[in-house]
Chain length 328, copies 2
């Protein structure tokens, strides 16, 4: 079968996604991006590599959606509304039109769901694994977005959703670990959560208005919390019982207690971790409810530069041998 | 030797380059990008893969600078002033701190030369080749940037610099082709031009003010001209004698006439091709002189949808078997 040229490939699969006016249907060398008066641009970028961040045989539409969602998750944690993205796609020799059509369908789906338009990109071939680099643009009405370094003693710590699904989902997806005894329903839930994280874009407004510090949890709850506390030069007491776990993770932990450590320190959550001053808790919780995003109080920021203390229900302190996931 | 963590790697090599205020020293998950009142943002992205766009053993500082320059070239062709960039770097297993230090030094050097600050990025590991994806931001005082589709019959066609150095430089760099008979001075000139293209940022203002259509030549003069003409629904008469060639390319063509076709159709020029209305020629040429960018008139835009005619000095038409470089 004759291969599409790069221009054909772009016009067939990607141009239909380039709905932003400045993208000009991807027919030019650059796009223009207009930022509405009074709005500020938030920029973040995350790359995913086959065999490192996803499995080469993951469904192409889910690879595409995960590529967008890990970036959307960063925007949400910074209180920004999704605006547009650029895409650099390095395709291995064995790409097929069918694969690419399904990949583009994934982009289309999440582009619509999150009102996130393709602005431009580059498609190159690689002798290595599929690599997807997304550069995401969001907007906020203020430059004072929540950073990692704003948490203050007395603030409450919150996380969205549930923690550890992604880390255990990697095990169910790959068949590693010993989770075969889990009900099929739990296993497929965990796999799905690994393949398709849920960016908490609906919480962006509440985070922007009420969080003193915020980040998304991508390298594990314990390690990312440590990063936020270090940046803020504070510590924290965390109630382990309060950390929200899905039924599937609870079942896995009942089956194998080692799963708890993996759930709390593994990566791929893409939930928001944020600190909220005491006086803003009820408004923050109210907004989260109004926007349908589950949030859970998990502890309190304290003063000092010692690592966070993780307290069990009986008041004992628990430590973790692995802090967080690191690529290097 | 213990490997640096991702955070250490970022703070040691990349944070010093993040001089834009919104980059916050790369200590957070996202950056803010402020666009001055009345300015518009131009966005472009280009990825380079080892073994495809450069050789794995090219000097790391030149790989870094080429990664920026292919993007700077796009900004220049669109009349935009460089503002900032994000960098996604996929590092193979065998990276070393020395390699990375030299790569970062290349970024620093061109960042200073082009006033182009690192805004954010992502560093991941890859089981494949080194891959560098840059997302570049430029500014213009108007949204009406020169596109590919604005050329009109009667406009003059210009190119900057010289054509074909990069394509022949790939041969001298790799030892392929038969250019050993060239003087060492010519060979090292060509290799250098392949390794380190010269973005024509100084011409951005003239292009913005006077070009009816513009693009950078990355996939070969003949093929990229065809793209510009097709987008503009016009044709052109090109005087082959007028296409500016370096002494090294002229020497190579004297040695092997097949070099001319390679020079005119090969890639990696990163020069600007633009169309300028007749009445603006003298001002455009004057601005180019004032800003020290060599420009050469190479032909005239004509009406019709036939391919460009390439005319030799004796008035005959020449055709090329390969139109342009395509990755797929």
């Amino acid at each position: 079968m004759a291969r599409l040229t790069e221009d054909q490939l772009i016009s067939r699969f990607f141009a239909p996604l380039a709905t932003a006016s400045g993208a000009r249907g991807l027919t030019d060398d650059a796009a223009t991006l207009s930022v509405p008066q009074g709005q500020h641009l938030v920029v973040t970028t995350d790359a995913l590599v086959a065999g490192v961040h996803f499995l080469p045989d993951d469904p192409p539409d889910l690879i595409a959606r995960k590529s967008l969602r890990v970036n959307l998750s960063d925007l949400a944690a910074k209180g920004a509304r999704p605006l547009a993205y650029t895409l650099c796609l390095a395709l291995p020799e064995n790409w097929s039109e069918d694969w690419l059509a399904r990949f583009a369908e994934g982009l289309r789906q999440d582009g619509e769901e999150f009102d996130f338009a393709l602005l431009g990109g580059d498609t190159v071939k690689t002798p290595g694994p599929l690599t997807v680099a997304v550069n995401a643009f969001g907007m906020t009405p203020t430059e004072r977005i929540p950073r990692r370094d704003g948490a203050r003693p007395g603030d409450s710590l919150y996380v969205t959703g549930t923690i550890g699904d992604g880390a255990l989902g990697l095990l169910t997806r790959t068949g590693r670990g010993d989770l075969d005894a889990l009900p099929e329903e739990d296993r497929s839930y965990l796999t799905r959560r690994y393949l398709l994280p849920q960016p908490r874009s609906a919480l962006a407004g509440a985070v922007l208005a009420h969080a003193s510090a915020s980040m998304d949890i991508s390298d594990g709850f314990v390690g990312d919390l440590a990063k936020l506390l270090r940046a803020s030069q504070v510590s924290a007491d965390v109630e382990l019982e309060a950390v929200p776990l899905s039924r599937a993770v609870r079942n896995a932990c009942a089956h194998d207690p080692a799963c708890l450590e993996r759930a709390l320190t593994g990566g791929d959550d893409y939930e928001i971790l944020c600190a909220v001053p005491l006086g803003e808790r009820s408004v923050f919780e109210g907004m989260a409810r109004a926007f349908g995003v589950p949030v859970a109080w998990v502890g309190t920021v304290t003063s000092g530069d010692h690592p966070a203390r993780f307290l069990t229900a009986d008041g004992r302190e628990r430590t973790f041998s692995h802090g967080s996931f690191s690529h290097f």
